[in-house]
């Protein structure tokens, strides 16, 4: 995998690097942010990192692969929009229940 990336077609590596950084930032946000909105932004970052990968791989391979990568990206964008709607709904619900969006306070999942 690593060898393929290094010896692969020109200019793919920078895209992948950006994507990896974006993904790591998103994951980091999910790991350390206690604010629910920040957490959601982390998820969006990870999704867009994946999108960037799709486009980049498609761009530097055959035209068919380009089309596939772009279609996949469109799907992900649509999915992300839906996810954002649901997740924001959840955030509202959390805020109504706990009067806060601090996820550290959401700790009643164990039942009693």
């Amino acid at each position: 995998m690593i060898e393929f990336l290094l010896s692969g077609p020109d200019r793919l590596l920078p895209y992948l690097a950006v994507s990896a950084v974006l993904f790591s930032l998103g994951a980091l946000a999910c790991a350390i942010r206690r604010n629910a909105v920040g957490y959601l932004m982390g998820i969006e970052l990870m999704l867009n990192a994946a999108n960037l990968n799709f486009i980049a791989y498609g761009r530097f391979r055959t035209s068919e692969a380009a089309a596939q990568g772009q279609v996949a990206t469109l799907f992900v964008i649509a999915l992300a929009a839906a996810e954002a709607a649901v997740a924001l709904g959840l955030v509202f619900a959390v805020f109504r229940t706990f009067r806060d969006v601090d996820l550290e306070k959401v700790r009643t999942l164990h039942g009693d």
Binding site: A27, L103, H110
Partner: protein, 692 residues
Amino acid sequence: MDSISLASLCLGAPLVAAVVGAVFWRKTSHVDLVSIAAQAIGAIAALAISLGVAAPATRTIPWLSFPGAKITFSLGIQLDALSVPMLLVVQFLALGVLVFSRWYLHNDRFYGRFFASFSFFVFAMTAVVVAPGLLQAFIGWELVGLGSYLLIGYWHDKAPASEDPEYQAGKPVHATGVNESKLNPAMAQLKAFVVNRVGDFGFVSGLAMLAWLVSSLPGFTGGDPLAWKTLFVAVGPVMASKAAFLGFTGAGLLTFAGLLVFLGAMGKSAQFPFHVWLPEAMQGPTTASAIIHAATMVAAGVFLTARIYPLLTPDALVAIQWVGAITAFVAATIACVQWDYKAVLAYSTISQLGYMMLGLGAGAAAGGYGAGVSHLYTHAIFKCMLFLGAAAVIHALHGVQDLGRMGGLARKMPFTAIATGIGTLAILGVPGFSAFWSKDAILAAAQTKVYLAQSVGDGVWAARIPWLLGMATAALTAFYMSRQWLVAFLGKPRDKHLWDHAHDPDKASIAVLLVLAALSLQFVWTGSVNPFSSGSWLDGVLRSPMAVKALPHELSHHIHLHTMGWTFALLCLGFGAAFWLYVSNPRKGGATATWLRRDPPTNLVWQFLANLWFVDKALDLVFAEGIARRGGRLVAKADLGSGLSMDTIVDNAVSSARWVGRFANLFQTGRSLAYAGWTLLALFGALALLLL
């Protein structure tokens, strides 16, 4: 339509009604009409078959195939001299009982469910009746068991009798031998099922043994080894074959297999000592008892015995005759001391089933086959009617079943009294009523067997004792059945308040009772108004190839006259005793007959009978308490080697499951961020595994 399609209607219509009823009974109470309509279709189809049947018809479809062993089990429909009358009886009685149940169970909590289970029950019994082989008979047999389970436990949430105010208010003063704390519909259905399991264990072993014996014969060329025609043709070769099992060979092996199947019949047909489930089965609605006691559940055992008749060796028949005779006698003696209206009928059913087995056991040469089978049909009709009459009486008295609180009901419910009276005369075997011919035929067959035994000089007493027990039972039957009718319907009302509110059932139900009563008259069956002329007495049955007459005509005529004379004298004796004790001499005190009346029973005979010969208690002690509970504990503690026992294995399984649970519980903190963290960790862990 040919007869096979008509028979499929008898089979299919109740099944459709059962499925529809099972789905919709909570939503609408009109599933009763679905069941009745389906049953009407079935009854009409059965009537058409029995009017039009000329030649036996069989159609089978292959079902389960074992190419290696060349065995293909098949299902299907077989219509012949035995199954067609039975089909008619089942379908017709089911229709009558369904119509009656509309009145009896009106506004009940589970109203629609009764009709759904009932239709299922009829479907299952039909499957047994038309079975073309032993395997389908067994499948239908088990479904019949399930149907009876559903009907007996119809009021499944009822409290035990000891805590049920309704039962306590309606029970007889001297209800002995009944363990009230264990008496409720749920326990009764369980008991019926478990007792039948014991018998069915025998059935399925016998079935497997027969399949093995027949399919390993050199002449077996493939097909269904359990189809009746294959099975019966194989009897001779099996006797001659060298197959051995547990030291039995040849005829002994066939006796063994036949008796194993008969064990199943003993369970279903409530033969001693498996009879214990039948009286408790009355925990179900009385109309369910009407069909269980007449045409379906208990009839299945006798029917099966008649079905496998060619398989039964003379030795097996001796055992069957003894079982029947003991059952008939024991149940008749118990019925004499019952004060519960339905209990008298329940024990009379057991006793009559014993009669049928007694007849079948006498052997085809003695005319026992035709006698036993015809008694199955006649008994089904009048016992169904007697139970429907019991339903009418119990309904009219608001659940009171105590004979001691009845009396004088004939004036309040004349139609019920007339119908039940005819049924009583029929079961007594009075000339002119249906059982006169069938029951006398059984006793004559038993006596013929004695003569046959004398002519070969072997097994005379083995044949004579069942015959004597049968004769004694005839007197006892006359006593307890006329006692029941006389106490309930004649005399002065013993409970004025109950009597005031008593009434006949509605018109449709009265019609059912009267039609069944009419069918309990002898000329319907013999085709002749002269009671002493056999006329066309169940032509198909008696003229079947199995009804061979082995004795010279003169002697057999003498035996029949002799039996008629004696049974008539015995029934007069029984009736006279009942009349004298309970009608002409009811309030004169004195020591003459206190032990049969309502006075506190103290003497040993009464105690013995009222405790049901201690059979229930002994079985409970040995099996329920002894083997199941104590034995279960012993088995649990037994060492399986290296210090393991059932108990420790179970304990270890439990504690390991508990530790797994505790470990998994560590992660269930309830903190949403912790969950997110675990998810991320898993994600990156998976990624790392993939890349490295």
